[in-house]
């Protein structure tokens, strides 16, 4: 941001077309009004609400950290934090590794590779409603696609979504299916930025493919790998639709993520203050990951 300002100062000596003028503000005013009204104000109003015994329309009496104290005595909230981390742990490494694998295999100019890339990204354009609809019918006991495939091998399909031990895994599989396109594409564009002459030099040195992969390809995309992981952590941390539509958070709240806890609390029980406090906790957790992403992309821009 410093550069354009300095540039302005230099130009200003000849003709002062970049001098600060109030009327120039009019260009940014429409956006800033919306930004202030529907993002900045709600952000602070949400913090304010979290310190109050709020109801649907107003903030109610001030109760200090009462909501936060209630949250951390609430076993379901603590469970939902654990569930969220568990879900991130199930999905993010799988997305990064499968995405990398697909990118490495499909990074070529053939027609079949192009078709497969199209296929692997296609699920990403679907809404969470359609994705969960597809996977619920796949998982449905006794008549779904999964139980028919298991039946073909004479086995009984695991009861994804109703068995407490594996319900979250069922949601994770549907999520990986839904989200695999973006990691693959990010890795593909990173792979295409590696200069070809490095590979040619390696080929002249008789490096085999494993050596080439380990000493050229993987080091070159290390930063992209970290970026993919952080993007996915931020995104998967906000799990809501899949859990709400596939299991409603059950069985026994074992698939209830933080966002679903917020939804249940604020928009079903209308305990607005408690919900607001929970969303501030979520905000703090996401902020840590978002900060990491910000620092990472800034460093990339400097390099």
């Amino acid at each position: 941001m410093a550069d354009p300002v300095n540039g302005n100062a230099r130009r200003a000596e000849s003709v002062d077309i970049y001098a600060p003028q109030w009327r120039n503000f009019l260009f940014v005013a429409p956006y800033l009004f919306i930004f202030a009204a529907f993002l900045v104000f709600p952000l602070f109003w949400g913090i304010w609400l979290s310190f109050h015994k709020a109801d649907t329309f107003s903030s109610g009496p001030f109760i200090g950290f009462g909501n936060y104290a209630r949250l951390f005595r609430d076993g379901i909230f603590l469970q939902s934090i654990w569930n969220t981390f568990y879900f991130v742990f199930l999905t993010v490494p799988a997305l990064a590794l499968i995405g990398l694998f697909l990118a490495l295999c499909l990074n070529r100019q053939t027609r079949s590779a192009a078709v497969l890339r199209t296929l692997f990204f296609s699920s990403s354009v679907l809404s969470v409603t359609i994705v969960t609809l597809i996977w619920r019918i796949v998982y449905i006991p006794d008549m779904g696609l999964l139980s028919m495939i298991y039946g073909f091998f004479g086995a009984k399909a695991p009861a994804f979504l109703s068995d407490p031990d594996i319900a979250m895994i069922g949601i994770a599989i549907a999520t990986i299916w839904w989200c695999i396109g973006l990691p693959m594409m990010l890795f593909l564009s990173a792979l295409q930025q590696i200069p070809q002459d490095i590979y040619e030099a390696a080929a002249l040195d008789n490096a085999n493919r494993w050596q080439t992969l380990r000493s050229i390809t993987l080091p070159s995309i290390k930063r992209t790998f970290v970026l993919v992981v952080i993007i996915q952590i931020v995104f998967q941390f906000q799990l809501f639709g899949q859990a709400w539509l596939m299991t409603k958070g059950g069985p026994n709240n074992l698939t209830k993520p933080i966002v679903l806890y917020i939804y249940n609390t604020a928009f079903q029980r209308w305990d607005i203050g408690l919900g607001a406090a929970a969303s501030e906790i979520l905000f703090l957790l996401i902020l840590v990951a978002a900060m990491a992403q910000f620092l990472l992309t800034r460093r990339k821009a400097d390099a």
Binding site: F27, S112, F120, F121, Q196, Y199, G241
Partner: protein
């Protein structure tokens, strides 16, 4: 495995294993969708009797006729189109104006304001949802189109993207016009805006797709059936389908709802992939 090895169907055993794995994953990708399409083409009663009948004839388009004839799917598609289209157009307008303002014009407090807008990028939707819901209750905007459009309009991403883009355009282009006494608005409209078409496309696609697929805000804001968007509407019909008598019908509705965006994707694949991955890395 690097790109100079032309064919995946290579010579070694390792190549075949990799090829097999990719094909397996491809089946895992396509299988569920094909299964749902097949279900949507089956008679509901036949499915109740024998789930395996999904793999063989007879197929029927009766479920689609029922979908078109009896469900609310059309009005939900219309609502989604109004919301996503409206949000996209407004986002492009506001972001372009603000991007030009931040990148090219000077006004008191500009740099501070821009940093504040950038910080807005780090705010997740969930951190503001509850307060926003209350504000929209005060304004009486729930169950209205403005109520569904306005929250998305506050996203800082478009302004950030357009500011970056305007900054990358050489200053000589508009300086000459301004020295010729053209107004700022005219320079913006005639000289600079035509140069930003690629960024407009990226932002437009990203915004439209995001709004079309948004679920949480419409779920809490549009509570009346006639204001449902497609995501909320389809979700409202799919409760408890384990007991449902009409699996085929529900699947036809899902295919009907998912097909347009998939077809658009097939045609504009390159732009969509660029927009989505560009937005992710920002």
């Amino acid at each position: 495995m690097a790109s100079h090895n032309a064919e995946i169907r290579g010579r070694s055993f390792g190549d075949r294993v990799l090829f097999g794995l990719v094909i397996l994953l491809a089946f895992a990708m396509a299988g569920p969708v094909l299964y749902v399409i097949a279900l949507s083409l089956k008679d509901n009663k036949e499915l109740m009797v024998d789930p395996h009948s999904v793999f063989h004839l007879p197929y029927t388009i009766k479920n689609y006729i029922d979908t078109v004839g009896t469900s609310n799917v059309f009005s939900w598609v219309l609502n989604s189109f109004i919301v996503a289209g409206g949000l996209t157009v407004l986002t492009l307008i506001l972001s372009s104006l603000a991007g030009y303002g931040f990148a090219r014009l000077n006004f008191p407090g500009r740099d501070v304001l821009f940093v504040i807008v950038l910080l807005g990028l780090a705010v997740p939707e969930q951190a503001v949802l509850i307060a926003r819901h209350q504000i929209f209750s005060w304004l009486g905007l729930h169950n209205t189109y403005p109520g569904l459009i306005l929250p998305g309009l506050s996203s800082a991403f478009g302004v950030f993207l357009m500011t970056q883009y305007f900054r990358a355009i050489p200053r000589e282009l508009d300086e000459a016009a301004i020295l010729d006494n053209a107004s700022r608005l005219r320079v913006f409209w005639k000289v600079l805006l035509p140069l930003t078409v690629p960024a407009q496309a990226t932002l437009g696609i990203f915004t439209f797709l995001g709004a079309w697929n948004d679920y949480f805000w419409p779920l809490i804001s549009a509570t009346r059936k006639e204001m449902f968007t497609l995501t909320v509407g389809i979700a409202s019909t799919q409760q408890n389908f384990a007991q449902s008598q009409g699996i085929g019908f529900l699947m036809a509705q899902a295919v009907f709802a998912g097909a347009p965006i998939l077809i658009i994707y097939l045609f504009f694949q390159k732009y969509i992939v660029t927009a989505v991955s560009g937005a992710a890395v920002r």
